[in-house]
């Protein structure tokens, strides 16, 4: 029990967090790279073509993991926002702001690959269905968090606190937005097929396996990106401390 408690406390202290996660960066990146290559090769070349959609369904191997990550990362940002706002934990602020850029990129990727999947499937690049619309609003939520942080450039701690507040407000709003957008599209029957409707019914293991591998790969990449950025964030905000000076001199 002591080891776990000790580890938890160490992760809360910026210099220990910096040191410990430094060891994880290379393994995470290599894992992410290997799994991505394996997943994409498996999905693009070895998975059989779909009965209805032919080869276009292979976009799913990029689109669906990106969508899962965009939602998961926002959830992480929200939770870190709560921790940062209530307990003023510096490491929580670092993790929160470090997750935002990669989360926004995944959201944009979801939207763009969704458009590229929509054209062959529905005949149109864009459709205001529940999932695409709420994904677009999610992008605005990410931009809001990053925007308010960068607006208060001169005071990083205040900026992080305000960004945490914005993240919490966004997190509370997320279910309301999802519900209202779904309700709105159920009334105005647009496209009846959702872009992500296919994956819940996948029973073919050779289609499911690459999807799960890509989902895992994106998680590892997220961790790599987030930890790397969080370390840089801590270097910046803790500039005056001696451990930062030592780190910079050593590198």
């Amino acid at each position: 029990m002591n080891k776990i408690v000790k580890f938890y406390h160490e992760m809360g202290s910026p210099p220990s967090f910096y040191r410990i996660t430094g060891y994880w960066l290379k393994p995470l990146f290599i894992l992410a790279l290997v799994l991505t290559i394996y997943g994409l090769i498996d999905g693009l070349f070895f998975a059989p073509p779909d009965y209805q959609q032919g080869d276009s369904y292979r976009i799913m191997f990029v689109h669906v993991p990106a969508a899962w990550m965009s939602m998961f990362i926002y959830f992480v940002i929200g939770v870190c926002g709560i921790i940062a706002f209530v307990w003023r934990m510096k490491v929580a602020e670092a993790v929160m702001m470090a997750s935002a850029p990669i989360g926004a990129l995944f959201t944009a990727l979801t939207l763009l690959t969704g458009m590229l999947w929509g054209k062959p499937m529905w005949g149109t690049y864009w459709d205001w269905d529940a999932r695409m619309t709420s994904e677009l609003i999610l992008l605005f939520l990410y931009i809001g968090v990053m925007g308010i942080y960068s607006a208060y450039d001169d005071d990083p701690r205040k900026a992080a606190r305000l960004a945490a507040l914005v993240a919490i407000i966004g997190l509370i709003n997320l279910p309301i937005i999802r519900y209202s957008v779904e309700w709105w599209t159920s009334i105005h029957q647009g496209a009846s097929i959702s872009l992500m409707g296919g994956n819940s019914g996948i029973k073919d293991w050779s289609m499911l396996r690459p999807l799960l591998v890509m989902a895992l790969a994106t998680k590892f990449y997220y961790l790599y990106s987030m930890l790397h950025r969080a370390r840089t964030y801590l270097l910046r905000t803790e500039q005056n401390k001696s451990w930062v000076t030592k780190q910079i001199i050593e590198n």
């Binding site: 994409l40 693009l44 032919g54 276009s56 976009i59 990029v62 990727l109 590229l116 990106s225 910046r236």
Partner: protein
């Protein structure tokens, strides 16, 4: 080998999606390292100013 790469009439869509994925990861990687180098440079400059 080339037949494997051929996605039928969906060539453009599938390969653009993969290209976007690769582009996004590259952009993220480059931005991480560039940001880190910038912060390191700023801190070094501050240290030099403080020492002198």
């Amino acid at each position: 080998m080339l037949t494997l790469l051929d996605m039928g009439k969906y060539n453009f869509f599938v390969w653009s999606s993969m290209a976007l994925f690769g582009l996004m990861l590259t952009v993220d990687l480059v931005s991480i390292h560039r940001h880190r180098r910038q912060i390191a440079r700023q801190i070094k400059a501050r240290q030099r100013r403080q020492q002198s």
